[in-house]
């Protein structure tokens, strides 16, 4: 007998071997493809994973350059993930009932282990998210990433922007302290402010959209337990779910719109890196790209000259992870430096003085201090509609993917900045020094003030300036650049004045040190 006998393994041995192999087999079952070391496994790594496959398997080198995105979209996502984790932790102790809410936040702040730290991170990450989303919007605007075929994604982005602000605002109420209570009182009355117009026209009795909005928001005619539970529901359930759903569409659309934006001649402008960007289709991939045949629009490989893409794994993902780590670091650093505020328990009889909304609404509050309806509803609606129209009005192609649309763009933006800062500072100075219509003509009817107030005048000046730009440069792109820039500057000026230069009774002070009685 010289044929080697294969010793039959006993069932017990098989059991032991299977047990030992279980971790490896679990991994294989989960990831299916092996380690992402070859071009092919790097691709399967991406499209075999439900989360990663929102990315395309390869990324153009242009879009990996830091200056294309500055990582701002990912920073927003990262900040959101941080608020998600810390928010769920806070929910362990938070109780959405007046007074109990305040006590539970106090407990979280002073008693719960790591409670203050987690609360700080949540608060700071929310602020970082607002900053990042504004900057991200500016970056997509200034690189003209809103143009065809990305118009729809720009609109989705605006939805995300509004929801982000909504999340921050609803969260502001939850501590039920003086700051929260009076910010919500003001917010709810802004929702009611269409009455400023319906009252003046004497029609509130039978047509009262303002009162309806306020009732829907508060669930009552006062800011009380019903309002708190509604804001809580919005904050922990409705808005986060809406945000996640829109984010999925947002990311998926980036892929379907042909990857992130880049100039038409991007390939020619990148220095060649042959060894990294060899053609993809040499290895006979298992999965073919037939799908591309039924997807509308240009794909990154058709008519694009030499291929300049690299595998998303690891190039893109490592960059994303770096941004995630950096954002986390920033939030943690800020949390160590400064605690989230908590004022006294809400007192419906004595307003906080000054009662300030969260900082990103102080620009609005500055306008609201002239006309509640125009500042709180009218002008924001005009701005939102204007932003939404931009991609449908600017149909030019030149300069897409370039910062400020290439040569000539930056000087124009600089000029618009002068106009934007100049006009808003000028009108604020005028109002602070000399007052406005009611101080000059005490009998002036409310409707006139609603129509003509510093907010509407500024909006009009900005709009006229942009129309002038369109004519002067014979280009809708010039108008859009100017319009976005002036409004951004106006927002910055009003926000800074509202934040730093307004004190008790919303009066102007050069510094909080001059506030009376403080």
């Amino acid at each position: 007998m010289n044929t080697p006998m294969i010793e039959p393994r006993s069932a017990l041995q098989v059991f032991r071997d299977n047990l030992l192999a279980a971790p490896r087999r679990l991994r294989d079952a989960m990831f299916r493809s092996g380690k992402p070391t070859t071009d092919r496994t790097r691709s399967t790594f991406v499209f075999g994973n439900v989360f990663l496959h929102l990315h395309s398997v390869r990324t153009h080198r242009w879009n990996l350059r830091w200056t294309t995105t500055m990582g701002l979209g990912i920073a927003t996502t990262a900040a959101f993930l941080i608020t998600l984790v810390t928010g769920v932790l806070l929910m362990f102790y938070y109780k959405p009932y007046p007074d109990a809410a305040y006590d539970s936040i106090k407990d979280i702040h002073f008693v719960v282990p790591t409670g203050r730290f987690i609360r700080n991170i949540h608060r700071w990450a929310a602020n970082v998210m607002v900053v990042a989303v504004i900057l991200h919007m500016a970056r997509t605007f200034y690189t003209a990433a809103y143009r065809r075929p990305r118009e729809f994604n720009w609109l989705i982005g605006m939805g995300l922007f509004v929801i982000t602000l909504g999340l921050s605002f609803t969260g502001y109420l939850l501590p039920w302290d003086q700051l929260a209570y009076w910010a919500i009182t003001i917010g709810a009355n802004i929702a009611q402010s269409p009455r400023e117009v319906t009252d003046a026209l004497n029609m509130t009795e039978w047509f009262d959209p303002g009162g309806f909005q306020r009732l829907l928001l508060l669930g009552s005619d006062i800011v009380g337990d019903e309002a708190l539970i509604r804001f809580y529901l919005l904050h922990v359930m409705i808005l986060p779910l809406a945000l996640v759903a829109l984010m999925a569409v947002h990311f998926w659309r980036i892929r379907k719109d042909g990857g992130m934006v880049r100039p038409a001649d991007a390939d020619g402008r990148l220095e060649s890196r042959k060894e990294e960007t060899y053609p993809v289709f040499t290895e006979a991939p298992k999965k073919t790209y037939q799908l591309a045949a039924i997807v509308k629009g240009k794909t990154s490989v058709v008519n694009r000259g030499p291929e300049n893409t690299v595998p998303s794994m690891p190039h893109l993902f490592y960059a994303e992870l770096a941004v995630l780590m950096l954002t986390t670091l920033i939030c943690i650093g800020l949390s160590l430096l400064s605690d989230a505020p908590l004022k006294e328990l809400a007192n419906p009889a004595v307003p906080e003085n000054p009662a300030k909304a969260p900082w990103y609404f102080l620009g609005l509050q500055e306008m609201v201090a002239f006309s509640a309806f125009m500042g709180g509803i009218g002008i924001p609606s005009i701005v939102i509609i204007g932003l939404g129209l931009i991609p449908f009005l600017d149909r030019e192609e030149q300069g897409t993917g370039e910062w400020f649309g290439g040569a000539g763009g930056w000087p124009l933006v600089k000029q618009a900045m002068v106009v934007g800062f100049g006009a808003s500072i000028l009108i604020e100075a005028l109002v602070i020094r000399f007052g406005w219509l009611r101080e000059w003509f005490p009998a002036v009817p409310q409707l006139v003030i609603t129509a003509i107030n510093p907010g509407t005048v500024l909006t009009l000046v900005y709009a006229l300036y942009s129309v002038w730009l369109v004519r002067r440069y014979n280009s809708t792109r010039a108008g859009a650049l100017g319009l976005f820039t002036v409004f951004l500057c106006g927002f910055v000026v009003l926000t800074i004045i509202g934040t730093y230069f307004r004190g008790p009774n919303w009066e102007f002070f050069w510094s909080p040190a001059d506030w009376p009685g403080h």
Binding site: I190, E439, Q446, T450
Partner: protein, 161 residues
């Protein structure tokens, strides 16, 4: 007569809709209608029908020493009460701008939130408030005064003792 789908017989005789398409489309529209109406029905839920707020009527005893033109604010209420030779009246201290509580001063009222000012009779003198402070109904119940925050009266209405 059978008509083949996809072959209109003449320009005036448009292609009849195949039955399957018709049934499918009606099912679809029925569903869309049902969804729309159920959504409208569900929207009724968040609109509160009964408001949970506490009673808006309360009674006050004015201090003997209250001088004419001086405001008395019942504790915890957003109301300022006045007594003079003509009688007693109550002015709501809820700012008509965005609902902050205004403070009575010697010249009238001032709002801490956006700087609205009101005269003693509630008229706006400065700032963004769109209308005058409301005068509230006061009734005399033998020595105490009952204020009804839900019922406004024309400015100048005073209740005599």
């Amino acid at each position: 007569m059978t008509v083949k789908a996809g072959k209109p017989q003449s320009r005036l005789d448009p292609e009849p809709m195949p039955r399957r398409d018709f049934l499918g489309l009606s099912a679809l529209w029925t569903m869309a209608g049902a969804l729309l109406f159920s959504a409208l029905g569900m929207l009724k839920l968040p609109k509160a029908a009964v408001l949970s707020s506490p009673s808006k009527k309360f009674s006050v005893t004015l201090p003997e020493t209250l001088a004419a033109g001086e405001a008395f604010v019942p504790p915890g209420r957003a109301v300022a009460m006045f007594r003079d030779g003509e009688g007693v009246h109550a002015v709501s201290t809820i700012c008509t701008h965005l609902g902050c509580v205004v403070k009575p001063t010697t010249e009238g009222f001032e709002c801490p939130c956006h700087g609205s000012r009101f005269a003693v009779d509630g008229e706006v003198t400065r700032g963004p408030a769109p209308k005058a402070l409301a005068w509230l109904k006061v009734s005399n119940k033998g020595g105490t005064w009952v204020v009804d925050e839900e019922t406004t009266v024309p400015a100048g209405t005073k209740e005599t003792a």
